[in-house]
Amino acid sequence: MSSGWRTLAHLPGAVTLKRNMNSPIDARKFKGKTRRELLKLTPALALGGFVIPQLQKPLLKAGLGFSDWASSKLFREHHLAPTFADSDVAPLNKFYVNTYDVDDPGVDLASWTLSVTGAVQKPGEYTLAQIQALPKLTQNTRHVCVEGWDVIGNFGGARLSDFLNMIGADTSARFLYLECADDYYESLDMATALHPQSLLCYEMSDKPLTREHGAPLRLRMPTKIGYKQAKYLTGLKTTNVLQKRGYWEDQGYSDYYAL
């Protein structure tokens, strides 16, 4: 009962402290109480798993996988990427070129064909003329590089969905697998392949693709990050199982990276 506060409060001129009405608790009891509160924080130590070398890789892989899953849930089939005015389009000499090994893998444009395999009714070799016979879509869209820069380009080509329709692709298959003349390779989920802005692109700024931009045919999806826009296409396969997911994806980049 001889609370220190009450004694203090009776001193002349003392600051008025509101007296605590509870009976005092034993100092040891208080120590136990605070220790229990401290121990309740131990679940936070689970984060330490990220510094254990054997666990770090699988944990980060799971985290990236979760991000990709969330990303695929945020994707909307009919939501269009922003398009831009012609005055916003960067001239080709301001359009940075990132390549896997060489700027020009030396494709013989005269004899070039796209090899179609997999779950399709009409597999075989397709010429550029056959692709160009499909309705052409030209649009100004933003190309975003995983490094952080971006550039607005003018892209023309056939809708990938029209081409898949032409070859009789089984669109219930999960992926497209793309092969390139420079040994680069990519994969693409079917929902993105069927997106109305996804192109088999053969023109930039109203001219046939230059060699460094992927002549004669490249992917162009404004809903995807730059490294998925494979250039110098040589093969397209419709499949449910991917042996390889993409050159950069197999190095540790996101499989799905959608914008």
Partner: protein, 231 residues
């Protein structure tokens, strides 16, 4: 305030002291998990920034800062993205849990800066920076602290929104548009990181100045010998 004071008595010496329960469990858990997540986000973010240390066009590229690799996390761009895209969920989850808890428990009154705190700002600034007298305190946080913590929470929310504008400029094109476009969103994201670091710097100085009992209160919830009167 809702914080309840208790009296602690040493049975041998019969000396008494006071303690106040300042920080509920969820607040403490979120504080520490978010602290780890924040530093992982900053470290990996700076490694990502190293891939294109600029805010303008790629051609010509004007390098803004050559950020040292030793002060970044992830080793390379792909590794940093793995850290960033993993810990962003931990950062967001603890943020949502914290804000949700504060709102539903009513504990937000402890930290939320409101118009009632405005008159208290100048006396505290005078005390901290101009050797003015220490204003009497009746609750856990003074006006200036509430201002700092409320700002920090706002910066945390903005860091997530600007991050989503960069990560998803198509699905959340309206977010990037609100921030002045993709380039601005990326610049805001970067500037907000520095603002958060400035808060962390000030926060650590204040924690050091206020001593051990203050630091322990964020671990155990209980602050011994509080320097304000309990109600």
């Amino acid at each position: 305030m809702s914080s309840q004071a208790i009296t602690i008595e040493d049975p041998k010496t019969e000396e008494t002291s006071e303690a106040v329960y300042e920080h509920p469990y969820i607040v403490r858990l979120c504080h520490w998990v978010n602290t780890v997540a924040l530093f992982v986000m900053i470290g990996s973010g700076l490694q990502i920034f190293r891939a294109f240390p600029s805010f303008g066009a790629k051609i010509p590229e004007k390098v803004l800062i050559n950020w040292p690799k030793s002060l970044a996390l992830g080793g390379w761009l792909g590794g940093a993205l793995q850290w960033h895209l993993t810990f962003m969920w931990i950062y967001i989850a603890t943020g949502i849990l914290y804000v949700g808890y504060q709102i539903f428990s009513g504990n937000y009154k402890q930290v939320l800066f409101t118009h009632r705190d405005i008159p208290g700002v100048w006396p505290m600034v005078r005390h901290y920076f101009f050797f003015g007298p220490k204003p009497s305190q009746h609750e856990a946080y003074n006006s200036l602290q509430k201002h700092a913590y409320t700002t920090a929470i706002a910066l945390g929310i903005l860091s997530v929104l600007t991050g989503f504008a960069i990560w998803k400029p198509v699905q959340f094109s309206w977010l990037a548009w609100m921030m002045g476009g993709f380039h601005w969103a990326r610049l805001w994201h970067f500037l907000i990181m520095w603002a958060i670091l400035a808060f962390v710097f000030g926060h650590l100085i204040m924690v050091a100045l206020h001593g051990w009992n203050n630091f322990m209160s964020m671990l155990t919830g209980w602050k011994k010998d509080p320097d304000y009167t309990s109600e």
